[in-house]
């Protein structure tokens, strides 16, 4: 049994701190670039379609996960759907209470397979139910930057 199991405080054993000082610079990729530019410029969603597997990928993908073929069939899909499941978040990453609990929902889109996890707003947590109709609320055009945060949240239709 190590010393740390028998001492009162971690600092009773010699110790020091260090970090791994890296940050990531991520690209959206070939499919993602087109998806986010469409959101930024037009405030709408694009998807790619695998005609062989009958799957509409939203967010769009460059290739079909199932048959591995290249996808170049692009379609516009509506920004509405329904709540597949949801949670109400009360604490932040540091375990501090949020001033206002936030609703986080997995929204399945009507015109696509899969969907997005995003915030739900303009509704009280106790009023949310599975299957509830919702739509995306986009930020104003001059505030959009081509990121997932260009969607402010989903709200009930």
């Amino acid at each position: 049994m190590s010393l740390l199991h028998r001492i009162e405080h971690p600092d009773d054993a010699l110790n020091w701190h260090g970090d791994m000082p890296t940050e990531g610079r991520y690209t959206a990729g070939i499919a993602g670039e087109r998806f986010f530019r469409e959101i930024k410029e037009k405030g709408q969603f694009l998807a790619t379609v695998c005609l062989d597997c009958d799957i509409t990928y939203m967010p769009p993908r460059l290739y079909c996960e199932e048959c591995f073929s290249h996808l170049d069939e692009w379609v516009e899909v509506g920004s509405w759907g329904h709540v597949h499941t949801f949670t109400v978040v009360h604490r932040d990453l540091d375990n501090e209470p949020l001033s206002e609990p936030r609703i986080l929902a997995f929204v399945t889109l009507d015109d696509a397979d899969g969907g997005l996890v995003h915030y739900l707003d303009e509704i009280e947590p106790e009023d949310v139910y599975l299957g509830m109709r919702v739509e995306a609320v986009f930020r104003a055009e001059d505030e959009r930057q081509g990121s997932i945060s260009d969607i402010e949240y989903f709200r009930p239709v």
């Binding site: 791994m20 890296t22 990531g24 610079r25 991520y26 690209t27 499919a31 290739y63 048959c67 591995f68």
Partner: protein, 388 residues
């Protein structure tokens, strides 16, 4: 030899670039897609997937192979990720081999990917924590320290000059000028260019080192009966070997890579090779630094200790020499997306033995070649011997 013979039947790679717009998944898919297409197979023909990728911190994605899986064709299939640092690329081919040799799978798609441009300010930072947190990190170490100390030890043991070693960088960057996927090919580079490049950690100068790179490579490996069906030119895996030295770099021989020798002996025994200098016709040793190609050629017993630099000076390792070494252009010329770079070496031997290497093709119809990588905490050797 365990089980049935295993063949490499297809290979593909992305262009190696400084900054890819593609996501890591998209890079992996492109290489995998090209490898499948090269042997007219589809993902449905593949029984299992091997993913090779180096530190998660490079792509900035923790549990990177899980993230990469769909780009590697892993949907609905048995999947494994092996990881031995820089040795991963060649080790992934070894894993592909034992998946098939075990009899468990007839076909395996091996995919290696690295996107190092994501890691800011420099991928070096991701390596800071490989050093011992008690005895080394307080010194603010840089990965180059290990290589600089090792290179100096190697030079001093055999009385080598910087010029003796710089010829490797020149050869590989010139070879890479003929590679359509290469990042740093340069037909006009000279030894003087290398010797005049900035000193990073003496004796390591900038042009002694391979670049930070994004890219992916994939292989299709199969059992004998599948190989016979899909190609009339299978390339057989004749031997595999891997070996680990002590994790303490202060407790190993920095001037001679014993772990490479042990890995090579394992592979040579399996391949029935008793005289590697005569029986290996072409070699792709791991060359993230120019001295490492020489170091590894000696560990592979292709040259006596301390003799590889003279052979290089005499032209033996040129593409048209007696033992062409890194005809691809290697990591110094094609680029070094860590795991993908190792698998690129296996793919290069595959292309060379099939006579498909285009402008890089070595003369003389080579029948047997070797790919080797090195990594982990700079103490692992991984070796694959291929033959036709």
């Amino acid at each position: 030899m365990i089980g049935d013979r295993v063949a490499v039947v297809g290979a593909g790679m992305t262009k190696f670039v400084r900054r890819a717009q593609e996501t890591p998944k998209e890079l992996a898919w492109e290489a995998a897609h090209l490898a499948l297409r090269s042997c007219e197979m589809t993902i449905d023909d593949i029984d299992a997937i091997v993913i090779g990728t180096a530190p998660d911190a490079f792509d900035g994605v923790h549990m990177k192979s899980e993230y990469l899986s769909d780009g590697c064709g892993a949907w609905g299939k048995p999947v494994i990720r092996g990881y031995v640092g820089g040795g991963t690329g060649v080790f992934a081919a070894i894993q592909g081999w034992y998946h098939v040799a075990s009899g468990l799978f007839d076909t395996v798609l091996v995919v290696c990917e690295e996107k190092m441009s994501s890691c800011r300010p420099h991928p070096q930072a991701a390596f800071l924590t490989i050093f011992d947190h008690t005895t080394e990190r307080p010194l603010k170490p840089n990965l180059l320290w290990i290589f600089a100390l090792e290179m100096n030890a190697y030079m001093n043991r055999y009385g080598l000059s910087k010029r003796d070693i710089a010829t490797v960088s020149v050869k590989n960057k010139r070879n890479a000028a003929d590679h359509p996927a290469a990042m740093l090919g340069d037909p006009d580079i000279t030894v003087e260019d290398v010797l005049n490049s900035p000193v990073l950690a003496w004796p390591v100068q900038r042009l002694d080192v391979s670049p930070v790179t994004d890219g992916a490579v994939a292989l299709v490996m199969s059992a004998n009966h599948v190989a016979r069906r899909v190609t009339d030119r299978p390339v057989w895996v004749e031997g595999v070997g891997w070996n680990l030295d002590t994790a303490y770099w202060t407790n190993r021989d920095l001037a001679y890579p014993v772990y490479v020798e042990e890995a090579a002996r394992m592979a040579y025994d399996m391949a029935g090779i008793s005289e590697p200098r005569k029986q290996i016709h072409i070699a792709e040793p791991y060359d993230p630094f120019d001295y490492k190609e020489l170091h590894h050629l000696e560990g592979l017993m292709l040259f006596d200790r301390g003799e590889a630099p003279r052979a290089a000076a005499d032209g033996v390792t040129q593409r048209d020499g007696d033992l062409p070494v890194c005809p691809s252009g290697g990591l110094l010329g094609v680029g070094n997306p860590i795991a993908a770079a190792g698998l690129m070496k296996v793919a290069e031997i595959f292309w060379q033995l099939r006579g498909e290497a285009g402008a890089r093709q070595v003369p003389g119809n080579p029948k047997r070649g070797l790919a080797q990588a090195w990594g982990d905490l700079m103490q692992v050797g991984t070796v694959v011997v291929l033959g036709v």
